[in-house]
């Protein structure tokens, strides 16, 4: 019976396995292969020379990588701080209202990211929704906050909010109420309960949320392009340019590989630390 179960397991995993192999692993291998090719070639029939990687260091692409990782880090921290109270409310306080909140947040995903970001541009630009009205009414205007680093981070926080909020709420709902009450009963203040009970017990949710937002933000390009007006060039921007304007596939592939490697390390480290089964509520 157990053997049959295992066989059926393999068979039912087969379709998804094939899809992952063809659509996920294969392109990754192609990118990896291109990354070691000499510059400006369009096929893989060359002797690997790793020259694209040396360009990465010589031409300052590491700067855009730092911008990407730095802004991803900051936006992840901001997201955590913004989402914690909201997620706590959804998991422990709001009751039925949290469903309304969930629907509201999910609804925002129905509209394309770029359209939403352009919406912000129209709202925030000089002469836009805010500044324009303010100036026509009071006669005083202000400079647009657009095209600067903080607004890009705002964009990242805005776009990736659901990816932090929902895992966090899930994580907080895993903190047993009686453990919090017991801690209070034993003399813990609210702050001590937060630090010693809530944060450690919600850690899987925190980790998943942070990982998702960080990984997505590190690869994000629309926020810096649309809200930042390319005042900052992020790594994803460089990769795109290398493949398109640059017509330098090996360089684009090498930049991708560096990003994939860094994010891969974070992701594997993160996932190895958490019990995904516990989060998904599966019994082992």
């Amino acid at each position: 019976m157990e053997r049959l179960d295992r066989k059926l397991g393999i068979f039912s995993a087969l379709p998804l396995g094939v899809i992952l192999l063809v659509c996920f692993l294969a392109p990754l291998l192609v990118v990896a292969a291109f990354s070691v090719m000499p510059e400006r070639v369009f096929d893989l029939k060359h002797i690997p020379d790793f020259s694209a990687y040396s360009v990465f260091f010589q031409q300052g692409y590491y700067k855009s990588l730092f911008w990407s990782l730095g802004m991803a880090l900051i936006s992840t921290v901001v997201l955590f701080l913004v989402c914690w109270p909201l997620a706590f409310g959804m998991a422990k306080v709001f009751g039925k209202f949290s469903l309304v909140l969930t629907i509201a947040v999910v609804m925002s995903l129905f509209v394309s990211e770029n359209i939403r970001l352009f919406g912000w541009v129209l709202t925030l630009m000089k002469g836009g929704l805010f500044e324009g009205y303010l100036r026509s009414i009071t006669g005083y205007g202000f400079d647009s906050p657009l095209y600067d680093t903080p607004i890009i981070i705002f964009g990242l926080v805005y776009v990736y909010l659901p990816f932090m909020l929902f895992p966090l709420a899930q994580g907080i709902s895993m903190v047993p109420d009686d453990a919090r009450q017991a801690a209070a009963d034993l003399g813990a203040t609210r702050w001590q309960i937060l630090r010693q009970i809530d944060l450690p017990l919600a850690a899987p949710g925190i980790l998943v949320g942070s990982l998702l937002s960080f990984v997505l933000a590190a690869g994000a390009v629309a926020e810096s392009k649309i809200l930042g007006g390319q005042s900052i060039i992020v790594i994803a921007d460089d990769i795109e340019s290398a493949f398109t304007f640059g017509q330098n596939w090996p360089l684009g592939a090498a930049l991708s590989m560096v990003l994939i490697l860094i994010i891969g390390v974070f992701a594997i480290f993160g996932v190895s630390r958490i019990d995904l089964d516990a989060i998904m509520g599966r019994k082992r």
């Binding site: 009686d178 453990a179 009450q181 017991a182 009963d185 034993l186 813990a188 001590q192 009970i197 017990l201």
Partner: protein, 361 residues
């Protein structure tokens, strides 16, 4: 000299909107006492204990600990502690860290903390090697002891228990309630215990309060509650009981309400006399009811038909239907097993000094 109560409640009320969960409780608990509140679910006993530890506000009334009002003090500032029904151990901490948690909050230095944790492990008869164990590695009974150790760690004035044994299996419960009694004797602390099982309460408690619909029906020792309940509710709460509705006839007499009871003795021997027409219930516990041989007699005699026999381990339980259709329960020790056949006529008897009269309907 009357001892100053350690915990004193005056007219404590808890309302949830229109619903009153606790209706004006007055109570004094003596220092060092093992006090148990027993009641069915929905009786208000959980609300009661949550108010006592500070997890629930009182709607009105006052709670005093050693003559200081504490009803407005938040739970984390009260010098009392509760063992939860779920135990509420912290799964991300080791056994040692769990026990030390309240000490760490109080900024106790690590060496003292560890020493205290090891003392407590010893007090609860857990080996010192458990200090580094994970909570998930402990069995149900061991978790129970860790929760107790954690609750005792900061030397609380009173230890509260919210049905901590109800999640465990029957055999473990039997051992642990005796252990708890033993722990109470050894620590000399005041224990306030909540349970729905009067049986459990009887094993451990100095005094028991029976709670019903937000009020105490009776506060007394286990023996008194068992032998002299003040109401039908209390009588029926503790296991099997036979109740006859009776009514006073003359100043000295009793008459069964349509039940064939021959009162041979004088009703005043019961210690109560009923006025004419006053209603009451005559209670006799199953173990005091005898099967009478034709030559024997007793103060009360009832005839009926033996319906069923159940073996309850050391005791045998019989069901006898009497003429009114009411079923009486009789219990005998296994060695005194009754040999009558199912369906046969039997005569039951019991004596005045084994019955108790409960006034009221």
């Amino acid at each position: 000299m009357e001892m100053q109560p350690i915990l004193s409640l005056k007219n404590v009320v808890k309302n949830y909107g229109d619903f009153t969960a606790v209706r004006g409780i007055d109570l004094d608990i003596t220092e060092g006492e093992f006090f148990t509140i027993v009641g069915p679910s929905g009786s208000g006993k959980s609300t009661m204990i949550r108010m006592l530890v500070g997890m629930e506000d009182v709607s009105s009334g006052e709670i005093k600990l050693r003559n200081n009002r504490i009803d407005q003090t938040p739970a984390n500032l009260r010098p009392t502690c509760m063992v939860f029904q779920s135990l509420a151990l912290f799964p991300h901490m080791s056994v040692g860290q769990n026990i030390e948690f309240p000490l760490k909050l109080r900024k106790e230095n690590p060496a003292n903390r560890k020493q205290r944790a090891l003392e407590l492990l010893d007090l609860l008869r857990l080996p010192a090697s458990y200090y580094n164990k994970r909570i998930s590695q402990c069995s149900g009974g061991e978790k129970q002891r860790v929760a107790l150790a954690r609750a005792l760690a900061f030397d609380p004035e009173i230890l509260f228990f919210d049905e901590p044994l109800s999640a465990l299996d029957y055999r473990l419960r039997k051992t642990l309630d005796k252990e708890l009694k033993d722990l109470h004797d050894r620590t000399g602390k005041t224990f306030v215990y909540i349970t729905h099982s009067l049986e459990e309460a009887m094993v451990m408690s100095d005094r028991i309060a029976i709670m019903k619909e937000g009020e105490f029906e009776q506060i007394a020792t286990a023996d008194e509650i068992y032998g002299k309940p003040v109401s039908r509710f209390v009588a029926e709460f503790m296991g099997e009981v036979n109740l006859f509705s009776v009514e006073g006839t003359k100043s000295e007499g009793l008459q069964g309400n349509g039940i064939e009871i021959h009162v041979n003795g004088n009703a005043t021997e019961l210690g109560v006399s009923l006025k004419k027409g006053e209603k009451a219930a005559l209670m006799v516990r199953p173990e005091y009811v005898r099967f009478l041989q034709s030559t024997e007699t007793s103060d009360f005699v009832v005839r009926g038909i033996l319906q069923a026999e159940f073996a309850l381990g050391s005791r045998i339980q019989y069901e006898v239907t009497i003429s009114t259709g009411k079923t009486l329960t009789v219990e005998k020790l296994r060695e005194d097993r009754f040999s009558g056949e199912i369906g046969s006529d039997v005569t039951l008897g019991f004596d005045t000094h084994h019955v108790h009269l409960i006034r009221g309907e």
